[in-house]
Structure formats: C-alpha cells, structure tokens
Subunit: 337 residues, 2 copies
Amino acid sequence: MGRNIFSSCVATGRFVPEDCSYNADVEQACGLDAGWIERRTGIVRRPIAKPEQAVSDLAIAAGKRAMMNWEESRPEGAGASRASVGMLILATSTPDHLLPPTAPYVASQLRLGTIPAFDIAVACSGFLYALQLADDYCRLHERSVLVIAANLLSRRVGPKDPATAAIFSDGAGAVVISPSSQPGVIAIELESDGSGYDHLCIPSGGSRSPIQEDTYQKGDHLMQIANGMAVYRYAVESMAKLGQRIVNEAGLSIEDLDFWIPHQANRRIIESVQSRLGLPDEKVGVTVDQFANSSAATIPIALDYFREEGKVRSGSLLLLTAAAAGLSCGASLIRWS
Amino acid sequence: MGRNIFSSCVATGRFVPEDCSYNADVEQACGLDAGWIERRTGIVRRPIAKPEQAVSDLAIAAGKRAMMNWEESRPEGAGASRASVGMLILATSTPDHLLPPTAPYVASQLRLGTIPAFDIAVACSGFLYALQLADDYCRLHERSVLVIAANLLSRRVGPKDPATAAIFSDGAGAVVISPSSQPGVIAIELESDGSGYDHLCIPSGGSRSPIQEDTYQKGDHLMQIANGMAVYRYAVESMAKLGQRIVNEAGLSIEDLDFWIPHQANRRIIESVQSRLGLPDEKVGVTVDQFANSSAATIPIALDYFREEGKVRSGSLLLLTAAAAGLSCGASLIRWS
C-alpha cells in the first residue's frame, strides 16, 4: 500500500437520450386519467433511446464525457488519463446481449486498452455496488476505475402497463474513481434481502423460464410488478435507515450534509425518505421529473447533472442512497474532490 | 488494515447435475458422425439440470456444500461461519431472470443475512474476475466472501447446432475466500479485448435486439458462434500468455507449480496451452470429459473435484487460467490454505 489509501470521485459524465415519451401519450396507451402519472410519480417525461441504440451506445457516450471532463482537469492529456484507468465496471440490467458481457466492448470503444471490464447486475443499486468494488480496487491497486451505469429499460416495459411504462426510461451515467490521499469516498453500506425476490421480475428470458412461444405471447419477457407496495416500503425504509446509519457511523449528523442524491424511482419515495431524514428541499437532488427511472443509471446521471448545476461542488459532502428489486439497497457518503 | 492483509481460499463446494446428455444423442441430433464430439472436444457427456431447476438452485446447492465444508474445518459452528461472510458474488451468464439479479435470493436461501450480494457477468472468465473482487474485499474489509459461479447453458444452446450443443453444460461451483495472514491468493491478472465482441453471441434478448416474434422463430435467443476459430486462438494465446506472466512476475517458474486448472472449454485448447506452458500431464486438471463446459463454473467445480481427488492439497501452488467470449481472460496464482 502506498500513500493513496483512499479513493475519490474525480469526474462525471452522462448521456440521456433527447427523445422522450410524454405523460399524455403513456396515459392514453395505458388508459389512465390525464395527470395521473405526474401526481403519482412526479415524472413528466421519459428519455427514450433511438431504435438503433443498444445499452453499449449509451454507456460509451457517458464514459466518453466523463473521460473528457476528467482530462480537462488534468495537465497530462488524454493518453495519460486513459492509461491510468485500471478497470471498467458496467452496472446494467439491460446488457446488449445475454452473452457476451457488454463491458469489454465499451472498454475497447473508449480506447482503454486491455483492462479488466465486466458487467454487474444489482438492479437499481448497481451504481453503489459498483462504487464499492471501484473503491476497493482503487485503494489496493492504486489505479483509477471507470464506473458506468447504463440501462435501456424502455425495451423491457409493457407499453400498456402503467406500473412500468409510466416509470422506466433510458440513460447512462459515468464516474471516474481515483486513488487519493484524502477520503473522497468516505463510506459505503450495502445490503440485500432476497425474501423480496419475487416483488418485481421479468418472468421469462432467464434460466428459470427460457423464452418460448407461449411466454412471448403472454408478454412474460417484460417487467412485471407483483408487489409494488412492498418495493415502495422497502425503498423508503432501507434508504432512510442506511442514510441515517452511514451519517451516524461517520460521526456526523444530517445537518452536515450538503446534498443528497437518492435513486430516482418516484418522487413520493424521495419525499418520504427526505421527511424521515429531515432534509430541507434545497439539499435534495431530484431529476425523476425529467429523466425518470433508468435504474442503476439515475445516481451517476444526477451527479453529473448537479455538478453542472453547481449543487455538487469541490468539498461538498454528499449522501447517495439506492434501493432495488431483488431486493438490495445501499448508501454512500462522499466528499467531492 | 489489521494483520490479515492477504486472502486465502478456505473451502470449496460443487453441484453438478446427475442427468447427462451423451455424445451419441447429440451426434444424432446434430447429424454428426459417431465419435466426432469426443475427437474434437474431449467431451464424453454434459450434465444437464432438471427442467424445474433454475441457476439459483444450482448456485444454492454448491454454496451450501462450500459452507458445510468450511464449517467442518472450523470449531465455531455453522452460525459463526455464516456470520463471518461479508459478501456474496454470483458469476453467471444465465441468471434466473433478466431482472432482478439472482444473488440476493441465493444469499437469503443460504441464510447469510442481509449481506451485499450481486451478479457479475464476464462469461467464462467470471470466476477469476469474481476472485479479484473477493480478494480486494477480503483484504480491505476483513470479512470472508462466498464466490459462486453457476450456469445453466443447456437452455441457451441450439439443440441441432454442434458448435454449442456439443460443448455447453450445467453446473455450479463455490469457493469461500477468507482474510489471511499468509498469501493464499498470490496474484490475479485480468484482461479484456472488446475487439472480439462479436465472435460468440446470443443475438436477441438483450437491449441490442429485444425478443420479437421473428427473432424467436429464427432462434436468435440461442447462442451462436460466428468465429469459433478466433475464440479458440484467443483462448490458447491468452491463457498461455497470462499463465506464464503471472508465474514470472511472482519470481517463480512453471516447474514450481503443483497443479494447473484451466477453464474447461475443450480438451484441445487445454492441450495447446499445456504444451506452451510445458506442464506434465499429472499437473493438469481436466474435467471437461465428464462435466463439459459450464462457463464460469468450470474452475470452481474443478477445484472442488480435485480437492476430493487429493490433487489440490494444503500448500499446493495452483495456477488457474480462463478465457471467455467478450473477449476477456484471467489467471490466478494460489497457494492453497
């Protein structure tokens, strides 16, 4: 171990498709009253990728921007930045293919050489899980890690199912994590709870129920929410619990936080957790209205967005929290570099 | 950091289905001459899971055996072993579902509490990538990691396609990695090469080409090998290169190795690498004849098998190597605990 025994978030990038689906269209397709989606979820529109785009296209675009933003802050030039990246982690639930993994292709398109590159799947907790792996790798191996979270969920929702069509979207966010002599990633807490495995599921297409003619006809290759209320409750309780715990264990209080970015699933979940944590509105990062829920990608997209907005600044103390189907959840406390 | 700054492999377990498909049947279905499969691949039979089993069933069974084997070697009892596991990593290309991830369910069925649990996808390199993440986590967080690699590939092969039906199988292997004061996991080297992304692929079912009526009819939800020769060459060259490099960088020579376990894709690949490395037959672990190719699962299955056979013993110096679609590859040098 050298002197850099911490890791730090040093750059962000995002790619959010320009094309959107708007509430009026989804409400009509799903037979919902006008205004239902915004009232229930806070979502106004959902960015939707072009038909010819796969998740790797979104991931590469976000990764490029993060690398460019990083290079602009360094005197060494692009080659040096690329050469200092030792690993690429792609958090996705919608890889290009069921085989092979997508990350090696993304790494090669970003000209990162032959670095280790792999996909992880932890649904909406994917970015925080990847952050844990990146933090470990950075600290032990003294090389930077490019974490990209990307999803193309519009292709896995039932177009007439309000529980999924109203919520999910496409997008990618990327963060460069680098070895640091100061604690940037102060703490990460991760949990799982497989007792809620069946609450939200794509029934067919995996090894449990391979795609067959009849499962395709029934739409079982699309997302189905069997127990939305249980997922909702888990999201509120786990994000409030882990958020409070990680702040306490760092010897801090909620008032010390400069900004909180939760996973963007639904405005009502965010408001419930906000009220439990006791955070004022100006410290809460909300993008679900315009970017909707791209699962693991929402937190790095929001980090990049609020960097641009000036809400995430050098020295900012950030709380990130996520909860996911599976179930799983996570929180991280970050001092921005 | 405490005194345990290394990690060590402390227990293994496997679950290989009893039912098998035999060469004569596959040769008949694929229109091959009798003896073709064994001549070309060294494979005699392929373990095949029961229709009601999903990958989680295989993973849980292998994980249980690894935990039992670990507990037998410890005086503290099962509860203490479970409580010392801090993370579960499931390397799979065939999760139960396309959403949610499978690992949280596996962790809950193994009664591991609410530990972080996630899926990684790196095709046949999955176990060695997971080993890297487990080693990092173990060393920094001083808790054990349960690594399980499991696949149910029989559901993703074309029954009449000799390139896939002859090769791929079902199975799961598990290894407990624990903090250690002695270097057990001596080194790990991982690489990727996305320039070969298209060589082996399931065209449809991911975000690039979602399942549609016509892609299902064409069989595009099944594995297709566009350039088997390129994958073969990459496997031979990358395993020989990384194997030699990791031994050299540890200041050792090939003669110091007690046993080599390569990913089990094909006996001819193994023989080519063996000849390049210059290893005698008695130091080469081959299971592809009886267990075939269950992708990421082959190495931990073989570890457990050769533990039972007495080839992997306390103090054995092991070389593990893998190469995968994507492309990716890896090697690890391990002193068995």
